[in-house]
């Protein structure tokens, strides 16, 4: 990875120090909260593929997240499969759902707010279906049997959970970086910037967009599966609710959409903010969200390029050449 400024190095360094520091601060609260943040960061990384690199702002990433979680849970609860099989199946199901939504939406050329609304509707339909059919546990949701141990991917020891999640997030970020530097990534960015020009250069834009949705779906499914394995319980609102979709997109936008580090930094930042507001206003439930919202609005106003973009302006390493203008 190459950064253009000291600010960006600083930001990443801060995140790494924080993530490493969690091991040493013997606080279960920090670790627990960071674990939650990492799962959301995975959803954010998933959104980042389509929303960040592809410029296809989805408002229903819960559809992918939830499908992954449900696929795995159904296999385990209803058919008694091993959690690892559920793990793989969840990722595959997420990818398939992504391809399906993308395949339909892009076929009719939906983009912009239309695409956002369609994805939102998809997530809603899935939420209602999941809460209505017996197969998905209906409104009661699905509860995994408590079977601690790596064999069923139920890790009890928090530091190990945390370490595992760090590895998964690192792998997904590495994949993101590889995608960014690959033919596929270049095509995706080209589509975001100018779809006609991309098409003219021989890019099958439809195919690339659907593939992007599938990859995004795989990451989203992965996030959903890990949520399931961590809390052993899902229901329709928990995994298909609009809160998931909002969290998936808000992190990358605040952090910096279409960057490798943005989703993680944004999600961590927002979770720290949420935790901070909770500590500032401990006895007034609700007011912490108000403060959170105020800070969020200010962040949107004053960090239009996200955290990564903001950091890019601090201590620029390579001067812009003079003859640019």
């Amino acid at each position: 990875m190459r950064f253009q400024s000291l600010g960006q190095y600083g930001l990443v360094l801060f995140a790494l120090v924080y993530l490493a520091g969690v091991y040493f601060v013997s606080s279960p609260v920090w670790m627990g909260f960071t674990i939650n943040a990492l799962i959301v960061a995975l959803a954010a990384l998933s959104w980042n593929i389509t929303g960040g690199f592809g410029g296809l702002s989805s408002f229903g990433h819960a559809a992918l997240y939830g499908t992954g979680a449900y696929a795995s849970a159904i296999l385990q609860v209803k058919y008694g499969f091993n959690a690892w099989i559920g793990f793989g199946a969840g990722i595959a199901a997420g990818a398939a759902m992504g391809a399906l939504i993308g395949g339909l939406a892009f076929r009719y050329g939906l983009k912009g707010s239309y695409f956002a609304l369609v994805t939102l509707a998809f997530a809603e339909v899935l939420r209602i279906c999941a809460s209505s059919f017996e197969w998905t546990g209906g409104g009661s949701g699905l509860q995994l049997k408590l079977m601690p141990g790596i064999a069923q991917l139920q890790i009890v020891d928090r530091p190990w959970v945390y370490t595992g999640l760090l590895v998964v997030v690192a792998v997904v970020m590495l994949l993101t970086a590889l995608i960014q530097k690959s033919r596929f990534g270049a095509y995706l960015i080209a589509i975001r910037e100018n779809e006609d020009a991309a098409e003219a250069l021989g890019i099958n834009t439809y195919q690339i967009k659907v593939q992007a949705m599938a990859i995004s779906g795989a990451f989203g499914g992965l996030a959903g599966v890990l949520y399931l394995q961590l809390w052993l319980f899902i229901d329709s609102t928990v995994v298909y609710g609009s809160a998931v979709s909002v969290e998936a997109l808000i992190g990358p936008i605040i952090g910096g959409a279409g960057t490798v580090w943005g989703p993680l930094l944004g999600t961590l930042g927002l979770h720290l903010l949420g935790e901070g507001t909770k500590h500032l206003l401990p006895n007034s439930p609700g007011l912490n969200f108000v403060l959170y919202a105020v800070v969020l609005i200010c962040a949107l106003r004053f960090l239009p390029q996200g955290l990564v973009g903001f950091a890019a302006r601090i201590g620029v390493l390579r001067k812009k050449d003079q003859d640019d203008a």
Partner: protein, 406 residues
Amino acid sequence: MKNTFNRRTLLQGSGALALGVSAPSVLRAQTPIVKVGVLEPLTGNLAYNGTQCAAGAKFAAETINAAGGIKSMGGAKIELVIVDAQSRPEVAASAVDTLVEANVCAFTGATASALGLASSQAAAKYNLAQVFSIGTAETVVSRGLPNVFRFTPGVNKCTSIALENLKLLNQGAGNVVKTAAIVHEDGPFGSNMAKILTEELPKQGIQIVETIPHPTPHRDFSNIALRVKASKADILIPSNYINEYTLMARALNQQRVELKAIYSILGGAASNIKFVRENNDVAQYVMDCNHWYDPTKAESKALAAKVAAAGLDLTYDVMVSYATIQVIADALERGASADRQKMIASLAASTFDKSIMPYGPTKFVNGDNTSAQPVNTQIRGDKIELVFPKQYASAEAVFPMPVKKN
């Protein structure tokens, strides 16, 4: 309350340090403190019930502290650490970390089974006891977690007792009820209950003519009322939350559905005084089989007065949460220790029978209080009266309800 803990732990810590080096003047007689967690959804969808529960816990702690605290621990005062589960399971689970860090000896919660399942699982890792105020889903106690204690009855028990009571009522009235319609929310407790009813009611000679699940929130109950009306059921058995219950009751009235009885099981509104106040007409004679306190106890009356003084509605959430704090206080009293492991042992051995709930001596079997039982209430005038079981009753049941003069 929670904001004080950091400072206090700090003070305690520095006090301990100071102990070694300086004069014993730092050991001024300070009332000892024992911390109890309250994990409830204070924001989000379940905020109403969560807030009510938190209020109940506060009243209990106040009462216990006013009566001298935990005597076996030198009159230690109960300090509640109230944390917000935000109506989300993962937040509920994370909130357990906060409780552990605050060094609570046990905690109560968490209004909805989904939240409670997540929190008790997280608490299991710390050997931290969770005394469920409400957690009707049977999975709560079927997981074999040693730190789970459900003080109140689960859905199976509520339903079976409701059925028994219904049978008694119906027999007393000469078996006038022959058909029933079930309306239930499609979440865990409603669906589960409907399943049991479908199996059990026919055994009592009551035929189920209509079963209608609905989502929460639901905006319009006209269709449901019409279907109930068309089914010509004698009795309606609803099970849903307060908002839906209110809309349903109105729709039933508007569609002039004639029923011999409305007999709800764990109904969100039928034992909520607000419903009685705001929808007095339609609320009359509605029966509910639900968690409820023993109204004859002095402490219950005191609680009712406190709740009214605080401008709150007296709901079962307040009562059960109050009672769980009582249970925890009793365990502390007997164990004389705030140690988490000891609390679990102490709770497991509980035979507490002085709670405001109409239960016998507590007996936890696999974490489930086998002596817990729901009661039947009936709305009469602007009051909610307890009609079953007889030994706690404050009024005689009216069944079937008198024909309205519409």
